[in-house]
Amino acid sequence: MARFRQDGTRSRGVTSIGMLSIRAGLTILTCAIVMGGAPAQPHQEEPITPVQLPERLDAAKVRLGEQLFRDPRLSGGNVIACSGCHRLEADGADGQALSAGIDGRPLEFNTPTIFNAATSFRLNWRGNFRTLEEENDSVLLNPRIMNTSWKELVAKLRADRDYAKEFAAIYGGGAERASVLDALATFQRSLVTPDARFDKWLRGEPNALSPDEERGYRLFAAYGCIACHQGRNVGGNLFQKFGIFRDPFSRRTESAADLGRFALTGDAADRHVFRVPSLRNVAATAPYFHDGSTASLDQAVRIMARNQLGRELPDADVTLIVRFLDTLTGEYQGRSLAPSDRSPR
């Protein structure tokens, strides 16, 4: 067309032929879509949506953030890096019920995986942070976790010639609180695990799930789990009280952590209220619950059904639901987060 338009001396007849041929092409394409449409139909009506890699992240910031994330100098006394607990080559956590603090004593909460953290509406078990920057700042300064100060941290980073060069190139100056937090957060936003088999199924690949797995998903929805575990993160977008029909804390002494958001707000309605955790990569991120008290996913499913739904699930249903949960394990940098012994493929 452009060729004809540029050459205005061509006759009208030739142009019409060009138009006709394009229309013909469009018709053929439409036919092809209609014919191949049925098997490729995406599951758009489901409450769960696929997770996607964020677009437009500054690659240089991501690189610098990863460097920082893996750098023990971010802790007081260069003891531990962020990646010490959030192990990127594993599940984004350390597999422990409670990680040890810098003083060697266990921390209050189970370390949640760093993967897909950025996609949650609040951070941490109690959802006490809105942004990764706030969360990182808190963790870095927490005397039991990273135990550093900005003065110390910035001084260490500035003393490093490579860091100085990187920060100057990206932020036009030396390392400082804002740029360090920005680099870390940008990197953490890149820690998303797309291409879980369930996501593929959602996008319309019918063979991405086995019939059992699909049946497990239907049970997951029918029992009502999906009432909270929905959205792109399969959870992570609302608060909910732990213990609707039964009290999970009845047989033990409540710790401060067990109080949930009540410890933060002091509102009685917030007692035992936690942020609903994401179920992405749940098969790979044992142990479970805020205190890491449950190592088995089957067990966790049963506990959730009993306390939250008021139901005792049959074993077969538990198995099927766990099979479904297994399909929520995604990939980071092309590598599946699933432990190899569990991988169904």
Binding site: P47, I48, T49, F121, A222, G224, I226, A227, C228, Q230, G231, R232, N233, N237, L238, F239, Q240, K241, I244, F245, V273, L309, G310, R311, E312
Partner: protein, 827 residues
């Protein structure tokens, strides 16, 4: 300097104004405004989306809470942008907008809190509702009497639940609760009891939660988010519009200021152009001056006037004057003696009067107007009342600029520019230019004058040289003739003295010879007089009696009756006679001759038409006639001997030549002024003296005769020796004659005391009369020596007298003269 400072001040002021306007013209930040509008839109859209999603979620149509989270996140993002909206606004507006934004923020906060509760409870509610709907199916009792009861109760429960969900009022809730309680109390088997327990739990949860969820939704919808957003929007847009309007006003002002600046730049440019043009004109004029100056150097004298006039015209044009004049005027003289004038076309005012020029020249109360040696009166109308202003106004002068013209330290005139219509605007540059032009023109004018004077001087010099040459020639010839005449007269006298044998006839012939000789002597006398070779003895002469004597029949006015000069009264008379004769002849007998005598005193040398006068006191004898005048050729030649305009035989051509000779011999000079058709005036200037003398014209008594004293007579002409011996003998002396001075000296040396007096010619071979005198005086200093000579200028007289000569006799000798002389020295 002043201009540059003013220019800088104006530029700085304009820059300040432009900067101020540019700052005020900056409207609200466009990008921020766009963002604010976008945020307002986002707030409204997301709020609407939030409400829709909440309602959908409540209805169970939306089971994913991500959109709710997303809407809240977007609202928070919009809030962040709205918090920046008031930036740049005045404080009170800013506070107002910020208050509105905080209202919106509070609404968002409320909504968020409600949404969080809604999500948590709605999740439970939806879950229980789903369970309830699904459970009433599976919980179907299998057989028995219980079955009917359970089935019936389930039906009741379902209906109650339906009513409750449709309209969750307390009665409906009670109905559900009562039904649930009844169902729970029915006896059932284990499997059924599990289902019924779950049903009971979820049923109670629905009854407990649904009203609160509905309440949450109602509260959420009641949050005045949209209203507050719209209020904010209205406040914000109102301010923005006002700011934009004000910015527009300033933009227009900025445009006006920029336009003014552009115009000013244009004005400066035009002025620059005008300056450049003026500069160019000035450069051209300076070139012209240089060219004129160079041209004047080579310009023939007769074209200088035209060159000066041209230069004056260019100067006047260039300086935008109405009139340009050069007044030539010398400080020691009255009036003007030259004037060049230029007038702009269309100006008909006469040039400034001589009185005004004089007033300016003497600086009549104009001291305040002097600028760089020039005199500038920018506006006559603003002058103080006074003589100078009166002069200017009388001549229609509005402004005046003049420079004195000086040459070689003398003031020679004034170059003046005047305007008559409007005051002239002349700058310092113009004044400098005027001075330059004045110098160039002065140089040209003075060169013309000097060259004229030089030419006249050269002409006079030529004339004088010619007269001198003619005089020398004539003098030489006359001398010879005089000697010859001496012999003729001597022999004639002797012939008459001696008794003649053949009586009367011969005697008559001799007498005629003697008469002819007398006439010849008179001619020779005149020639000698002209050639100034006549011996003179000068004495103080009273001019008036002498002149009067000569002009007794002529009407004369003698205004200097006591004027004295040194000279010969006869010659004085001769001057008067000759001039009057000349005048009479010129008038051909009809007309008036006026003779004036006065004295003049000259402070400086003065050039006359025929000669140059040194400063001093002079007797001026003027003879004026009313004749036809003298033409230029005659004027040049009239004092040459034998030059005559009269018919042959009527004049000798010696009259004026004689006058010239006499005047020159008296160190005087002649000035002739003649106007063709009106007459001629001869002025004779003779040096005046204070000495007094005897009257003119009294002849001395006849000398006594000799008593045999011995006279030594020496003359190289033997004829004259013979005549002399006889003449002396006739006068009673004994003469011893020699025709050779050497022989005469030898005879004297032989007996110095033999001679009582020596009578010797001056011009002789071997030894002149004076040399002889000196030689004799060495032997006898007291011996009187009388020198005879044909020439004898005053200088020569002095010389011979210093040589010891007692007296000088003029040849040809006449016995009476000799007798008187001898008597003087011997008695």
């Amino acid at each position: 300097m002043m201009q540059a400072r003013a220019l800088m001040a104006v530029t700085a002021a304009l820059l300040l104004l432009l900067t101020f306007l540019a700052i005020r013209a900056a409207g609200p930040d466009t990008a921020r405004h766009e963002r604010t509008l976008e945020a307002l839109r986002a707030a409204i859209l997301n709020e609407a989306a939030l409400q829709r999603d909440v309602l959908e979620a409540r209805a169970g149509l939306q089971r994913n809470y991500d959109p709710l989270v997303g809407s809240l996140e977007n609202l928070r993002g919009a809030l962040d942008d709205l918090r920046l909206a008031s930036k740049g606004a005045p404080d009170e507006v800013r506070a107002m907008i910020d208050r509105q934004v905080e209202g919106v923020a509070a609404a968002v906060g409320d909504q968020e809190a409600l949404v969080e509760q809604f999500k948590s409870r709605n999740a439970l509610l939806q879950n229980s509702l789903i369970f309830f709907m699904h459970a009433t199916g599976p919980v179907q009792p299998r057989g028995g009497a219980e079955r009917d009861a359970v089935t019936a109760e389930l039906g009741t429960l379902t209906n109650a639940m339906l009513r409750f969900t449709a309209d969750p009022r307390a009665e409906a809730a009670t109905e559900v609760t009562v039904s649930l309680d009844r169902l729970a109390r029915l006896p059932v088997d284990d499997t059924l009891s599990e289902s019924i327990r779950n049903l009971d739990a979820h049923g109670h949860l629905i009854v407990a939660t649904l009203p609160s969820v509905n309440d949450l939704v109602a509260r959420l919808l009641a949050v005045p988010m949209a209203e507050r957003t719209r209020a904010l929007e209205s406040v914000y847009l109102d301010w923005h519009e006002r700011a934009a309007t004000r910015a527009d006003v300033f933009r227009i002002l900025l445009y006006v200021a920029a336009l003014a600046l552009a115009l000013y730049v244009g004005f400066l440019f035009l002025r620059l152009c005008a300056n450049a043009r003026a500069l160019q004109a000035r450069v051209e004029f300076e070139h012209l001056l240089a060219a004129v100056s160079a041209q004047f150097i080579h310009l023939p004298r007769d074209q200088i006037d035209a060159g000066v006039a041209h230069g004056l015209a260019r100067l006047g044009e260039h300086m935008a004057a109405d009139r340009a004049d050069i007044f030539l005027r010398r400080p020691d003289e009255e009036g003007l003696h030259g004037h060049y004038a230029w007038r702009r076309a269309g100006i008909d005012a006469p040039p400034p009067s001589a009185a005004t020029v004089s007033a300016v020249a003497v600086g009549l109360d104009l001291a305040d107007h002097e600028r760089a040696g020039c005199l500038q009166v920018p506006d006559v109308a603003r002058m103080p009342i006074g003589a100078a202003r009166a002069h200017f106004e009388r001549d229609d002068i509005r402004s005046w600029l003049s420079t004195p013209m000086g040459y070689a330290g003398r003031q020679v005139g004034l170059l003046a520019l005047t305007t008559t219509r409007s005051p002239g605007r002349w700058t310092d540059d113009d004044i400098a230019l005027l001075r330059m032009a004045g110098e160039v023109l002065t140089t040209a004018i003075e060169r013309q004058r000097i060259e004229s004077e030089q030419e006249a001087l050269e002409a006079r010099l030529h004339q004088a040289q010619r007269l001198e040459a003619v005089g020398t020639l004539a003098g030489g010839i006359a001398h010879e003739f005089n000697n010859i005449l001496g012999a003729i007269v001597g022999h004639g006298e002797m012939a008459l003295a001696a008794p003649l044998d053949d009586g009367r006839r011969v005697r008559r012939h001799v007498e005629r010879i003697m008469r002819a000789a007398e006439r010849a002597r008179s001619v020779i006398d005149q020639v000698l007089t002209f050639s100034r070779r006549r011996e003179r003895r000068r004495r103080p002469v009273a001019v008036a009696p002498a002149a009067a004597e000569a002009i007794e029949l002529l009407r004369a006015s003698l205004r200097a009756p006591d004027a004295m000069m040194r000279g010969d009264p006869t010659e004085l008379q001769q001057i008067v006679m000759n001039l009057c004769t000349n005048a009479a002849h010129a008038m051909e007998g009809r007309g008036a001759i006026a003779i004036d005598l006065d004295t003049v005193e000259l402070d400086v040398d003065r050039a006359l038409s025929h000669g140059q006068l040194a400063a001093g006191r002079y007797v001026r004898l003027a003879v004026s006639d009313s004749g036809p005048g003298i033409d230029a050729t005659t004027m040049r030649h009239m004092f040459e001997p034998f030059f005559t305009t009269k018919a042959v035989g009527r004049g000798t051509g010696l009259g004026l030549a004689t006058v010239h000779g006499i005047v020159a011999a008296h160190h005087g000079a002649i000035h002739v002024e003649s106007t063709p058709g009106r007459g001629t005036r001869f002025e004779v200037y003779l040096p005046q003296t204070e000495e007094r003398t005897a009257q003119v014209g009294h002849s001395p008594p006849p000398p006594p005769p000799g008593s045999g004293q011995t006279i030594l007579l020496v003359d190289d002409e033997s004829d004259l020796v013979l005549v002399g011996e006889e003449m002396l003998a006739a006068l009673g002396y004994e003469a011893v004659g020699f025709d050779d001075s050497t022989a005469a000296l030898a005879s004297f040396r032989a007996d110095p005391d033999r001679f009582d007096l020596v009578l010797t010619d001056e011009v002789m071979p071997h030894m002149t009369g004076t040399e002889l005198t000196k030689a004799m005086h060495r032997l006898r200093p007291d011996l009187p020596v009388v020198l005879m000579t044909g020439y004898a200028g005053p200088v020569e007289l002095d010389r011979v007298q210093s040589a010891g000569v007692s007296d000088v006799l003029k040849k040809p000798l006449r016995s009476t003269t000799i007798a008187a002389c001898l008597a003087r020295h011997l008695h």
